[in-house]
């Protein structure tokens, strides 16, 4: 069966969606990512959608679900690289991807994840001593 590869980089998981996704592939990715977060204890997930030519309500819902599920498993999700035409269409469709963090590109997304992970540690450290 067709699958979207999930790469591990340190404490983060990276996914690049490069195919025109049919619905079942999107569901499989959602399940695979959830399992990988739980197995690896990853602290962040970066999803690169720069190759996606459309995001309809189904794919949008999948991104939202991934973000919520990973949050429950103590991992942050950042979606990066959305094409401008896709962003315009998505908002007109009525989806604002509430609860999904986004960044313009992979670099900015990684920076966001690193900061959120280290911020998390600092605050725990802080509460330990105060």
């Amino acid at each position: 069966m067709e699958k979207i590869p999930i790469l591990r980089m340190g404490e983060f998981l990276l996914v690049t969606i490069q195919v025109d996704m049919h619905d079942r592939l999107a569901m499989t990715l959602q399940d695979d990512l959830t399992n990988r977060i739980s197995q690896t204890g990853a602290k962040g997930v970066l999803i690169d959608i720069s190759s996606l030519e459309i995001v309809d309500s189904f794919i949008g819902r999948m991104l939202g679900n991934i973000a919520s599920t990973s949050r429950v498993l103590d991992a942050e999700t950042v979606v990066v690289g959305m094409q401008p035409a896709v962003a315009i269409t998505l908002v007109e469709l009525g989806m604002s991807l509430d609860g999904v963090r986004t960044a313009l590109n992979v670099d900015a997304g990684m920076e966001l994840l690193r900061r959120s992970v280290s911020g998390h540690e600092e605050s725990e450290y802080g509460s330990y001593f105060h």
Binding site: H22, R61, I88, G94
Partner: protein
């Protein structure tokens, strides 16, 4: 309204939804739609095709390119499924009978210029949309 070419695509499985997106993208690009307009009409087609597969239990899409006086794309999604009992309710954002977000019909209506929905309970549903260039 001059129809220059038509094409019919079966819309039965999930793979057909992807096929619909490709066909509509190709035609929109050929007609010289801007990237944003291409994306809008392809996204609308994707939503409507999914409705045909899931709620209509499969059907077909007829794609026509319109040439003159205005240039545009017309898509007709037709199924012989159970039909929609309350069309106004079905068009409302957030209304869903399935597991989706309920943005399919109302959302796709916002992405096109003309939208017509005809449905008869027990007979089927026909959605006609046009996006002008």
């Amino acid at each position: 309204m001059a129809v220059t070419s038509t094409e019919t695509v079966p819309v039965v499985s999930e793979a057909d939804i992807v096929k619909v997106r490709r066909c509509v993208r190709e035609s929109a690009a050929k007609l010289g739609f801007s990237l944003v307009d291409q994306t809008k009409v392809v996204t609308a087609a994707s939503e409507l095709a999914r409705n045909t597969v899931i709620h209509g239990r499969g059907g077909r899409m007829e794609l026509a390119t319109l040439n003159g006086p205005r240039v545009g794309i017309r898509l007709i999604f037709e199924d012989k499924g159970p039909g929609i009992p309350d069309i106004d309710l079905a068009l409302r954002d957030g209304f869903t009978t399935g597991s989706g977000l309920g943005l399919g019909l109302g959302g796709s209506k916002r992405l096109v210029n003309e939208f017509e929905l005809k449905s008869r309970v027990g007979e089927g549903t026909k959605v006609t949309v046009i996006r002008w260039k």
